[in-house]
């Protein structure tokens, strides 16, 4: 009899001992340095520079220890954050794709930063940040996020390839010129297979919609406004969609592209990319890469992208520690390192005036395009902050550039899908 009780006990023990292995992020008592968890995104130099800054911050003081954890691409960090919210297992600071601030602030998942700004006595000044870059950190009048790795969409051009095709060594200024350049650059083999094409249109959920948004802006339109009215069925969007589609299927001078390798391998002469990819592309290419503005048509205007820092701590001590870390990450010193290493934009006046930044832009004038483009920026379309918003836009671009469906119909469908998603998940 006793033995069976024993068996039961062993069995239960086997189950419960496993429960003893604690996972990450257990509550820590606030004695000694406060340990906080930072969820980062991005890889390559953009990832390395974050690790480097975390290490520098940890070494610079003894009150806070930051543990940096890589969470994947923007879209994944979003899913992981939703999962962590559900599980009650939150990090303290998180690197967010800027449009998601509204989504999370709305449901109360982010900590408002107003109180920290108010009680900060270290001479911290919000006005130092460039207005266009901190603007989308606000939700409902409160500050929820600070700009850290802000970017704009750029056009990266293989200058050598243009010159070989008898074109000037500069990026096309308008979309019409973009189309012309593409025609001149494209080459095919005897079997009619393309050897090199003019342009690669970015696919994929993370950023395809961003370049599309920028292009719609340049045609004088927009994807959606702040009241979630969707403007995809209007002329600018349709015109642009038709242009891209014609280049792929009629001219056969462009293709859907899944990575910047297509530029690096000389498959295409032009791709879209974030300012944040500049360091990476310039260092890896063995030809002349020209970073340039996205083509304009009726105007030059691009959506600000990139990431912001937001606070998700639930504990008082950790919130204070998180604030210190956030201040450091957006400081002139840290931001200058980010700018130099990656090509992201300076986020504050003091960062722009920081001696190392100034020296850097003097030495590398070609990289100044990011700063020059600053004056032509505006926030992203509201629909991006819907849970399924980027996915619906990705589908739209696939319908246009892979399935070759009628642009007007596609835009109508997409508008309906976005509206449905808005009613379903946001309202």
């Amino acid at each position: 009899m006793k033995r069976y009780v024993l068996v039961l006990l062993i069995a239960l023990l086997a189950l419960s001992t496993t429960a003893v292995w604690a996972g990450a992020a257990a509550e820590k008592a606030p004695e000694g340095p406060v340990k906080i968890v930072y969820w980062r995104s991005l890889t390559g130099v953009a990832g390395e520079v974050q690790e480097e800054l975390v290490a520098r911050f940890n070494a610079s003081q003894d009150k806070v220890i930051v543990e940096s954890q890589f969470q994947g691409a923007y879209a994944e960090i979003l899913q992981k954050l939703l999962a962590a919210l559900a599980a009650g297992n939150l990090p303290d600071v998180v690197l967010l794709d800027s449009p998601f601030v509204a989504l999370f602030a709305k449901d109360g998942a982010l900590v408002s930063l107003d109180q920290f700004v108010k009680k900060d006595k270290t001479g911290f000044d919000l006005d130092d940040y460039i207005p266009g870059l901190i603007q989308d950190g606000y939700y409902d009048g409160s500050l929820y996020a600070m700009p850290v790795m802000r970017s704009t969409p750029l056009l990266y051009v293989n200058g050598d390839m243009l010159v070989e095709a008898g074109l000037p060594r500069r990026a096309p200024k308008t979309w019409d010129e973009f189309r012309e350049f593409s025609k001149k650059v494209s080459k095919y083999n005897a079997a009619g297979e393309p050897i090199q094409l003019g342009a690669g249109f970015t696919m994929g959920q993370t950023s395809a919609h961003w370049y599309f948004q920028g292009a719609v802006y340049s045609f004088g339109g927009q994807v959606s406004d702040e009241q979630f009215n969707i403007h995809l069925t209007e002329e600018p969007a349709i015109k642009l969609a038709t242009l891209w589609q014609d280049m792929v299927f009629k001219d056969k001078t462009a293709m859907p592209s899944n990575s910047h390798d297509d530029l690096l391998n000389r498959k295409v002469a032009m791709v879209f990319g974030s300012t944040g990819s500049m360091g990476n592309l310039l260092s890896r290419a063995d030809f002349d890469v020209i970073p340039a503005f996205m083509p304009g048509q009726v105007q030059n205007l691009v959506p600000v992208g990139g990431s912001v820092l937001a606070m998700t701590s639930t504990d008082k001590f950790r919130q204070d520690a998180a604030w210190e870390f956030m201040k450091y990450m957006t400081s002139a010193e840290a931001n200058s390192a980010i700018v130099i290493k990656t090509g992201y934009m300076p986020v504050s006046k003091s960062s722009m005036a920081y001696p190392e930044t100034v020296a850097y832009f003097q030495a590398n004038p070609v990289r100044k395009v990011a700063v020059d483009q600053l004056q032509f920026t505006r926030p992203q379309a509201s629909v991006i902050s819907l849970g399924k918003g980027t996915e619906i836009l990705r589908q739209m671009i696939e319908k246009l550039l892979i399935a070759n469906r009628d642009p007007k119909r596609v835009m109508e469908e997409t508008s309906a899908d976005l509206l449905k998603e808005y009613n379903d998940s946001f309202k």
Partner: protein, 283 residues
């Protein structure tokens, strides 16, 4: 008569040649992806981007593996995979053995009914349980923990069923002798039943280990951070980097994940294949 024999012989050789041809083609179809993975992993970026492709690089680039290793904390992924797979196998086999012994040797009024209930669980695909299990784990605060990865998948139907068959096939006289010696059920199971089932137990352990080592969907869902991810999940994350990682590094990283199970497989190949052929393992 001799003529007829000769004729058949020629046809026989032709048939043999045909057999080999078919089998060689199939082996190539199966083997080339592995080979391609290995040769890609030791090429230079330039050699990767050549058409038509080359089969072997001029110089072997071992440093691709160092670079791939640095793309993510693979050491940590290894530790996580080993911990979750071994404890998972240990728990599942223990649970299976206990159930199997009970169903084979212990009398109980509702035994047959309970046996049917257990078998019914085999009909329920684990994918259906994803969401409810996630919610259960959320309440247990087990998201992103080892027990969260392991515990939901250590209940055993097939293992229990299989071991029960073996326990039943043990001659009753042996159990009687144990009973006469005053051994209780637990000791009888440990000292009599389990040692006799050793071959099938070995196959079960190997199979479960490989299945747990390779599992992807559930660890993907329950882990949030690098330090809890298992190898397959960690590898999948490497691929979703912002900018593309060279195929040579991706293939090198894939080999980290692929090589351990392949070693286990080739070491225990005979036992695994014959175990499956003998119905030791569920499809």
């Amino acid at each position: 008569m001799v003529e007829v024999h000769k004729k058949r012989s020629a046809r026989w050789y032709l048939g043999r040649a045909g057999s080999h041809l078919i089998l060689i083609l199939a082996s190539l179809f199966i083997g080339i992806p592995f080979l391609w993975m290995v040769t890609t992993s030791i090429k230079s970026p330039a050699e990767v981007a050549i058409f038509p492709p080359i089969w072997w690089p001029k110089t072997i680039r071992w440093d691709n593996f160092a670079k791939a290793w640095s793309l993510a904390p693979f050491g940590r992924f290894y530790i996580n995979s080993i911990i979750t797979a071994t404890t998972g196998v240990f728990l599942e086999v223990s649970i299976a053995a206990l159930s199997a012994y009970a169903f084979a040797r212990i009398r109980f009024k509702y035994r047959d009914v309970m046996f049917l209930v257990m078998l019914a669980a085999m009909m329920i695909p684990s994918q259906v349980a994803l969401i409810p299990n996630y919610v259960v784990l959320k309440h247990l605060k087990w998201i992103n923990t080892y027990q969260g990865i392991v515990i939901p998948h250590v209940s055993s139907v097939f293992g229990a069923f299989l071991l029960r068959q073996y326990f039943l096939s043990v001659p009753a006289a042996l159990y009687d002798a144990a009973e006469l010696d005053g051994l209780g059920h637990f000791k009888t199971m440990v000292h009599i039943a389990l040692p006799l089932a050793r071959p099938v137990l070995g196959t079960l352990v190997l199979y479960l280990f490989l299945a747990k080592w390779n599992s992807y969907l559930w660890p993907l869902i329950v882990t949030n951070t690098q330090n809890m991810r298992t190898l397959p999940v960690g590898l999948a994350m490497v691929r979703t980097a912002e900018y593309a990682i060279g195929p040579e590094h991706l293939m090198a990283a894939s080999l980290f994940v692929l090589v351990p199970p392949l070693i286990v497989y080739f070491l225990a190949q005979k036992q695994l294949i014959e175990g499956i052929a003998a119905g030791a393992v569920k499809g």
